[in-house]
Symmetry: D2
Subunit: 508 residues, 4 copies
């Protein structure tokens, strides 16, 4: 409670928040240390809390002990004490979790993952990225049977279902349990002597497998493999449960089980737009490449304005760091039609954490933006400025950013967004503001109103059609027809959802 | 993890550790603040962790929310932030808990009470003082039925049993559940709109009920009532479940249910010897009075040595603060036979927390004792010194204390202990070292060996018979025959215990 | 700033605050560790800040380095990190300081001692207990000559005076400097290779010398010697400067210089009444003995009331822990005239730090007292109660304490104070509230008004005459006529003081 | 001590460290808050410690009080408590300081600026960026006159010189004092009722003046004006002392005094290369523009290799964020000669603070680089890669970075550096490693050896000539001939330096 985790930089960004990163490793003497570095590399997927759980074999007792440490804050804050990783979190297998979510609940601490429980066959620990969509019904059923819940997280449900399964083998218990839940999930599950990677049948959230010597590793994005020098092997398949045990280490070949084969995927398209790091491979493809194409297609569909006489004065600006890659794609294409168009690094981002001191009458949001961004005035003055960004959620930060750029006295400001207007919430693991707060909805999806609200000369979004055209299509290497979930842009939810209030169990 | 709770003063004392204090309050607008002060007054019963859970009614939702905060450290450390108590822990009813136990487990945090869970009828929170003695069997049965455990505490079992009860009414669920457990327990249980005080049929641990205006309060000891100006009403009876709800507030009369009527009690006699504060009322009686009588009876049974010529040189010393009261009883009686005997405040205790810096070759235990005690040399020099203490566990601290007193050059040192030798562990809520570590066992219960080990001129203990003769006897106000558990002195366990390794679930 | 040092227990006590403890050690490989333990033993003399400075010889450079660490809080808080003492604060000589003072100043940190400076002949570090009384004039003169001050402490002046001395030898510089200041001071001064103990010509504050093997140690009270097993050698004489250097270590005989010989002392009499620990030797005498005599003489001069019929109901209560010793003296004497009078440990003090949560309309002072004290009701009910305390300053705490005792329904409450009414501030190192806040002054020194204010049946103070009669008199071992400063009781200041506002340099 | 300031990101970068940022403001009701934001914007100039001192007028006393708070860590860590800025640091004028330096000294705390002292005419506080070069002689002289030093900082000297000046007026005292010191300095000096901005005659370090309504502000770089919406007015001139007092506020015209007019400047050329933010104006010019020109001139002088057949495979990579601007200049020019050359954002920088856990046998530096950077493999594979960076100091980080890029399997790696090899230390305020540690010196300035050490296909630096050609030249607006200090590249020191060991006073 005494950590200033609420002053985190990420709070200033008007973007959807991912609900997590997961990581798992099996058969590595430094399992906790490797997991820590994996979580560091995945920090962008969740900055509120971090946790690691290891399975340690105690030879003198011929038993396993699960060691766990978790807390609010960034991974390096939660694991600031090296002895934690090396002396406390002993064991050759581990799972980890970064989380972005649900501040404010007075006992939010109990919701930090991994969850660790004990059941009749030993320990289980779970890290979950995504959301189950039929939790209300399952929770009701379990409670009616006398189950108690110690967290408000949907993830706890899976542990109860596994423990209650009458199947003999653990993997069969898991399969029976996971088949009862619907939704989007990339899950790492650690038992006394096995590690499971579980992915929903539509493969909404990313999850990859890698190897490091004899160890098997799993992570939400491959940037977590790079930091520990692990090699990317393959995606966890849609609806696949991968089991790693001692035998797997010996054979070098993971065991694979299928929950359900839908023949198609519904990857979260927003992972390409904003979430994932450009240096990661997700869904079997390089993020950098897709993001560049988003910029390119935007430049074709909604080109920057041509200034008939004063060509040289059209400058393109990215909003660092998140739109840098897309901006490069936009520029490269844009130059084809306007050869005098050029890139300026005219928005400078401070990478030090800022803080705002609320004064009566002050514009707090303005100071927030100013602690994060500043302009190179000479690069903007008298120019036609095109700002490229990946998405707009509430629009509040963008409005301030435009104001900031305006202080440098450009001739015109044009906004180009490499995705369509966001109009609907995510039920598969992203944390958006409410439907009413979204700027597109507030302006009734009227571009002119959005333009006026943001106070720019023009604002243009990439169309949904071109969004899809920018990301990989076709049949993937496992034979699945590649499809995407674009619910936040279209309102079409590919996986059925029950009508739930997210905080229902938080507050009742 | 960054709190220095391990440097706590209590670690230097070679005494049994109580496993907890409980507190509950119903119908008070400052429920959390009152609970905090109650926990402060009960701090001596547990210094490792502290927690408070409140039930808050949300009128706009017609629902309840349970707010909880807990952590390692003393109550004032855990609740150092006033906003916690006043803004976060809102609600008109609350339970609290202080805990002494189980350090070292890497996830000991999950064992801090109160426990809060959600079940089909709403929230439940539990604070427990004591120990269940048939947990192994119950836990096994519950796990076989598919139950998962999130803590290693025996207390969690009760919550599962309640949730699984098929009874209609909550109080009946509780009765059905509690009747399945054996052992010693004083429990506060908070539901959305009710507060329950639960005590085992032998009333091993203390638990009292009080009132503060229209509020009902419960606490392990009445000193917790004094600090908030509440009035002591009565003991919770052996085997009684008291329920407080809205109706009770209106009528002013608590609802009472009986688990089982054994017709007798087995109060922990050690509560009178050492645990409870002298200003508390427990088991319906004043601790101060019993403790004085322990000293008096010791003076009769095992008087201080008479120094034939030099009467004036017999001085009595207490080990502050715990043996002060008993020493006064010893002295008052002793003067009758040796009118020149006198009290000296010759051991001065530092009430500042000390710290030891381990150097190779240093006597660490010696410096521990020296950071806590010092002698008034002039009051000891050339005197026959009688040190009165309440109990000896390992004997290590007493050995150092004797060495310290010896540096002041007394003529002789005599030890008088106001309880018998401790020879057996407690299974009802006290935390002793292992049987092998007890000095009485180490010396094979041979008084001469103990004397030599402690390096004193004589050492004498109160007999078990006189121990019982010093504490209230007869029939209590509810008609129960008053009896005591003296298992730590006699090895006789009044309530059956299964053979369990305390840390079994911690490590397996 | 992030330490909760303001919640310190000492804040609840209505007593004068000492301005410090000093400690010094020379020629010890564990100089910092020893100093830490000395400061721990002297914690009662200052709880706001603590600091240690060591002199470390660097053989490779043939130079000295001074290592220093200091901070707000108790010694164990400031030196919570063992590596500080063992790895950072290296060196064979050290001085330390505990401080009670001047909270609230935004830069109070710069006033924490020891002060460390560099001057033309190397380093100097200083710890000071007491107050200079001609600082205004000296500071003005130094500033006029172009000196800058980095603290608001009077102690800094001495360092400037030493550095500006034209004398050749360091000891002569010190003598020249110290002869320019007036006031009360017990000072430890560390140079690169020497340690100096300096005491004012009236020996107002205590300062003793001890030995530990080949090491020389100095401390405000001898309890600091006991904790490190050092042997008490003698008092630093009035007006003496003791110098310890390598030669002294070889000869085993300290070098002594005299500032001024007044032939008499003006020991602070309040050290015997309240400040010093009963297990300490100060001014060459045992505190315990003097404090017992204060109680005895009070019992003679202002005996407890005789209850003609119900003798047995007169009980004597101390206010733990500070008045325990005096109460024993009072009781022992009192019994001679009222043999049924008896001691009750009826006030129980909590040694856990409390905290108050300020609520509108609440009596904050009441809860402060209740977090610290509780009564054993049965020992008070229907009794004539005599509370013995050592002193009353503002009277606010005593008023609440009386109220607390009253809740236990005694027949009568009588207050007996083992010192006269406090009527004047101290200018020699104690921190009192202002003259106007003192209860004696508020009640115009009218005993009846004080009685009414405190709401007791009688209140009696020891007379100034009997105060002096209770403490050692005559000629001390060095031939000085023993005299005392009783300014706080009499208003007579034995050492001239300039009229200064204590915070003058703090705020101007 | 409990802040993790040592894990600061900046430690991983192999760059010279600036010795500070200064900021000052006069006549603003939120002086401390504005200063805080200024320090946040200037955080890149010093990340080890931060401090603010305000002058508060106390009308009831007709006096001033100086409030100060400083500590180790980033500005937002040191000023994490809003009440500090709004309630403690009251006053209408303030100065602030960020610092990078001298870790490890046990009392480094005393060296954190601003320094605050009291002298005969009131308070003085000082913030200093730069270094005095004749401190040894001045310090010796002052000590010989009896001055004591409380810090090891050269900056303290100036305060002593001012206090010892016999001049009547404060500004004359300052002029007399500053004329005695040599070196590079941009200083903010706050007195009770005046603010002074002081700059050395060669204007080595930047210092600008701005206005915000009626307030005057000063800062090392203009990005500190932008964040508080202040307007840039002008440079503080070489050798100028600007005084702001009440009269200045009324007239709106600052008072200007000249220390010495050399007719020329010796601006630190490294400020353009690396130190200053691209969005700042320093030395009267935009940093962005100069930095772009450095890249451009490098592209002309040392172009990227032409790959005769496979043009498209030449990709340019910046080392984010510091070389982004220069890389853009390099690319823009480079495309002219190789139209298929293109920019790739192939190095991704994590902006979360990393941590390394030292394991025996591990390559610690490798993991440091990996916690900070990762590659977009697809953008590098099989390409001819040109990495543009601004400077190389030790070369250790660059070596690891090259290794990291190599893992992505480029065809070739070429390094282009937008400044010449660093061969000599800075004596004017930058913190370099020792001469021996510089990679250029280690490799005896042999390009081939450097290439081999860094393990690249080619490495080329900008020549000293072209470095100068890239930055503004001529006569500045005040008539000074613009010149630069390039000592770190050339070994030519424009201002005489005494031979001093930087830590001389730290350790002696």
């Amino acid at each position: 409670m005494n950590k200033n985790y609420i002053s985190n930089n990420s709070k200033y960004i008007d973007k959807p928040k991912s609900n997590c990163a997961v990581f798992g490793i099996y058969n590595d003497q430094e399992a906790a240390v490797k997991t820590y570095f994996g979580l560091h590399a995945l920090q962008h997927r969740g900055q509120e809390a971090s946790g690691i759980c290891t399975s340690e074999y105690l030879p003198e007792k011929n038993k396993y002990r699960f060691n766990i440490h978790k807390g609010h804050g960034l991974a390096h804050e939660v694991f600031s004490d090296q002895t934690l990783l090396t002396n406390v979190l002993k064991g050759n297998s581990a799972i980890g979790h970064n989380r972005y979510s649900t501040t404010g609940a007075s006992d939010s601490r109990s919701n930090i993952q991994p969850f660790k429980v004990h059941f009749k066959e030993g320990y289980l620990a779970l890290s979950h990225n995504g959301n189950f969509t039929n939790t209300k019904e399952l929770r009701q059923k379990l409670q009616d049977e006398g189950t108690i819940f110690q967290t408000t997280s949907d993830s706890e449900i899976l542990l109860h279902l596994i423990a209650r399964s009458k199947k003999e083998e653990l993997v069969d218990k898991i399969l029976e349990a996971i088949r009862q839940v619907r939704g989007a999930y990339s899950i790492m599950l650690l038992s006394d002597d096995k590690l499971f990677a579980i992915r929903d049948p539509y493969a909404v959230r990313p999850l990859s497998m890698g190897k490091l010597g004899d160890s098997f590793v799993f992570a939400s994005e491959t940037c977590a493999f790079d930091i520990i020098n692990a090699e990317y092997i393959r995606e966890v398949k849609p609806g696949e449960v991968i089991m790693i045990d001692k035998e797997v280490i010996e054979t070098g070949k993971e065991k694979s089980y299928i929950i359900e084969n839908t023949g198609q995927t519904r990857h979260c398209i927003f992972e390409y737009v904003y979430f994932s790091r450009p240096d990661s491979t997700i869904f079997g493809n390089t993020v950098d490449k897709a993001r560049r194409k988003l910029g390119k297609n935007l430049a074709i569909e909604k080109p920057a304005p041509k200034s008939p006489v004063e060509y040289k004065k059209v400058v393109v600006i990215s909003v660092p760091d998140s739109s840098n890659t897309a901006t490069l794609g936009f520029l490269t294409e844009g130059i084809k039609t306007n050869k005098y168009m050029k890139l300026e690094l005219a928005l400078i981002r401070s990478h030090y954490i800022g803080r705002t001191f609320i004064q009566p009458g002050q514009n707090n949001r303005e100071i927030k933006v100013k602690t994060k961004f500043n302009t190179v005035k000479a690069a903007i003055k008298d120019r036609i400025v095109v700002i490229v960004d990946d998405s707009i959620v509430r629009g509040t930060t963008m409005k301030q950013l435009v104001k900031l750029v305006k202080e440098a006295k450009p001739k015109e400001i044009h906004l180009r967004i490499t995705s369509p207007p966001i109009i609907a919430p995510c039920h598969y693991g992203m944390d958006f503001p409410s439907r009413e707060e979204l700027v597109a909805n507030q302006c009734e999806n009227d571009m002119e109103k959005i333009r006026q609200y943001l106070d720019v000369d023009s604002v243009e979004y990439l169309s949904l059609e071109n969004l899809h055209a920018s990301v990989p299509q076709g049949i993937d290497e496992y034979g699945y027809k590649i499809g995407y979930c674009d619910a936040c842009f279209s309102g079409n939810y590919p996986i059925p959802i029950e009508h739930i209030d997210k905080f229902e169990f938080e507050d009742n």
